[in-house]
Amino acid sequence: MMRLRHFALPAIFWLFVAYLFIPIIVMAAMGFRDSNFVAFPIQNWTTRWYQSVLFDKDIAQSLWLSLKVAVVSTLIALAVGLPSAFLVARTTGIIRAALVAIIVLPAFLPVIVSAIALRMFIGQLGLETGPTAIAIGHAASTIPFVVLMVLTRLNAMNPNIADAARNLGADDVIIFTRIILPYLAPALFGAVMFAMLLSFEDFVRSFFLGGFEQTFPVLLFSKLRFGLDPGLAAISTLVLLISTAIGLYADHFLRRRRMKNGIMS
C-alpha cells in the first residue's frame, strides 16, 4: 500500500502529465522545422514559420472571423444567459427544475445533432449559413454555462443586500447597476472568458453553420485533411498558447475571488 501511494500513484500522475504535454511540445517544436513537411528528426531549425504564419491571408482572415464570432456569440450568450439566471433564481420547485433542465439540456445533447437541428432551422429565421448563424449556434451552446455560472453566484448572494439597498431608496434599476452587477462581476468575467474560448475552439457548429468563410478550427481541419506542414504546427501552437493563457488566467481569477468571497459571506 505504501508503495502504491508513494511510488505508483505519482508515477501514474506524471505519466499522465507527459501524455498531456508531450504532443503539444512536439507540435511546438515542429513549428521550428525548416522544411515543408512534418518529419523527424528536426535537423534545421527556423523561426520563419512562426514569423510568416500570421501574415498568411487565409489564416489571418479565419482568426479574425473566429474572434468576431466569439465576441458576438458571447454578447448574445450574456444577453440571454443573464436574464435566464434571474428567471431561474425567482422560480422554485418543479418549474425551476424544468427550467434548469431545458436550459442545460443543449449542453448534453450530441453536438452534431444540435448543430444540424440549428442548421435546418436558421432558414425559418431568414438566415443563411454564415457568421451570424455560427454566432447564434455558439451562443446556444454557451448559454447553459453562462446560466450555471451566474446562478451559482446569485444563489450565494445574501438576499438582504438587495433589500437593504431598496430600503435605502434604490429602485430596481439602481439595485441592478449598483448592487447586483458588481456582485456578479467575477462570475460574469468567468462566463465571458469561458464563452469566448468555447466559441473560439468550436469546430462542429462552425462547420455546419458556416458559409464560405471559415473559422480557424474549420480552416485548420480542411488543411489537415490535405496534409500536415510545420506552418500549421506553428500557428496551432500560437493559438493554443493564447487560449491556454486566457483560460488559466480566468480559472485563477475565479478561484481567488471564490476564496475571498468565502471569508465575506
Partner: protein, 309 residues
C-alpha cells in the same frame, strides 16, 4: 451613472415604469422572462421540433405544389443498410469503452491530486492537468497526427532506437483515435471525479483503518461509494461527448472507424433532399444515447437510494 439614474426619477414616466416594476409581480415577471422564454422557444425547442417534423416528411424542402406526405420510411432506412447499423453499434461500443478507459486512466490521477499530494500543491497540480482543456479539438487532433503518423515522432523514435525499420501504422486506426479521444475526454472525467474525491474527509479513512479495514476494503467500502456521484456524472459527460464526436474521428480515425455522428454528417453534406433521413438518424442517436445514459444513471443511483432509506 447612479446620479443619472437618481436624476431620472424626477420624470414621471421613468418613475412610473420603475415603480410599476417594483409593485407589479406580473410586470416584473414579463420583463425578466421575455428574453429567456423567447430564446428557449425559438432556439432551443423550435429547431428540435422542426427536426422531428422533418424526419417524418417524405422529402424536404417540399417541391412546389405538392402536399405534405408523412412517412416512417426514414426511420426504417436505418435498419436497411448494415452500414448504418454497424456505425451505430460501433459508436455505442466505442463510446462505452472510451468511457471505461477514461475512468481507469483518470481515477488514479484524480486520487493522487486530491488525496496523496501535499495539500499546498493540489491547486498547482490540478492546474497542470487542466491547462490543455482550452485547446481546440482540431488542434489536439493535429498534435497527435504529428506524434503518430508514419514519419511522426513515435515512429521516428522507434527507428532511431533501432527497434524496427518499418514504421508502425498507427495513424488512422482505432489506436490513434482512442489516444486522441482520451486526450479530449480525460478532463471531463477529471473534474467531477476530483471534486467528489476532494470532499471525502480523510478522517473517514483513518476511522475505517482504526476499525480494522485493510486498504482494499477502505477503497471499495469508503472511497468508491462516496465518489460514486462524481464517477457517474463524469461517465455521463464523457459518453455523451464521445457519441457526438465529429472532427476527431475524421482526422485521427480511418475508414474502419466510421462512427454514427460521421454518418449523420455525411448524409447532410449530400443534397438538401436527405434532410429527412438525417433528422431521423439524429433523433435515433439522441434517443438511444439519452436512454443509454439514463439507464446507466438509474442503475447506479437506485442502489444509493436503497442504502439511504
Amino acid at each position: 451613472m447612479t446620479r443619472l439614474l437618481v436624476w431620472l426619477r424626477q420624470f414621471g414616466i421613468y418613475r412610473g415604469a420603475v415603480d410599476l416594476y417594483a409593485r407589479s409581480g406580473l410586470f416584473r415577471g414579463l420583463v425578466i422572462a421575455f428574453i429567456p422564454v423567447a430564446w428557449i422557444l425559438v432556439l432551443t425547442i423550435a429547431p428540435y421540433a422542426q427536426m422531428v417534423l422533418i424526419s417524418f416528411y417524405e422529402r424536404y424542402p417540399l417541391p412546389p405544389d405538392q402536399t405534405v406526405e408523412f412517412t416512417f420510411r426514414h426511420y426504417g432506412s436505418f435498419a436497411e443498410r448494415p452500414l448504418y447499423l454497424t456505425a451505430f453499434i460501433r459508436s455505442f461500443v466505442f463510446a462505452s469503452l472510451m468511457t471505461a478507459l477514461t475512468l481507469i486512466v483518470v481515477f488514479p490521477v484524480a486520487y493522487f491530486i486530491s488525496k496523496v499530494a501535499p495539500r499546498g500543491q493540489r491547486t498547482r497540480l490540478l492546474l497542470l492537468v487542466i491547462a490543455p482543456f482550452w485547446i481546440s479539438e482540431v488542434i489536439r487532433s493535429f498534435a497527435w497526427m504529428i506524434m503518430l503518423s508514419n514519419s511522426g515522432a513515435v515512429n521516428s523514435l522507434i527507428a532511431w532506437l533501432g527497434l524496427s525499420a518499418e514504421p508502425f501504422e498507427m495513424l488512422y486506426t482505432n489506436l490513434s483515435l482512442s489516444i486522441g479521444v482520451l486526450y479530449l475526454t480525460s478532463l471531463y472525467m477529471l473534474l467531477p471525479v476530483y471534486s467528489a474525491l476532494e470532499k471525502i474527509d480523510s478522517q473517514l479513512l483513518d476511522a475505517a483503518a482504526n476499525l480494522g479495514a485493510p486498504a482494499w476494503k477502505r477503497f471499495t467500502r469508503i472511497i468508491l461509494p462516496l465518489a460514486r456521484d462524481g464517477i457517474v456524472s463524469g461517465c455521463t459527460l464523457v459518453f455523451l461527448l464521445v457519441i457526438g464526436l465529429y472532427a476527431m474521428p475524421q482526422l485521427l480515425g480511418g475508414p474502419g472507424t466510421t462512427l454514427f455522428a460521421a454518418t449523420i454528417g455525411q448524409i447532410f453534406s449530400k443534397a438538401g433532399d436527405s434532410w429527412p433521413q438525417g433528422s431521423a438518424f439524429s433523433l435515433i442517436l439522441i434517443g438511444a444515447a439519452l436512454g443509454y445514459v439514463g439507464l446507466f444513471t438509474v442503475l447506479f443511483q437506485s442502489r444509493r437510494r436503497r442504502r439511504a432509506s
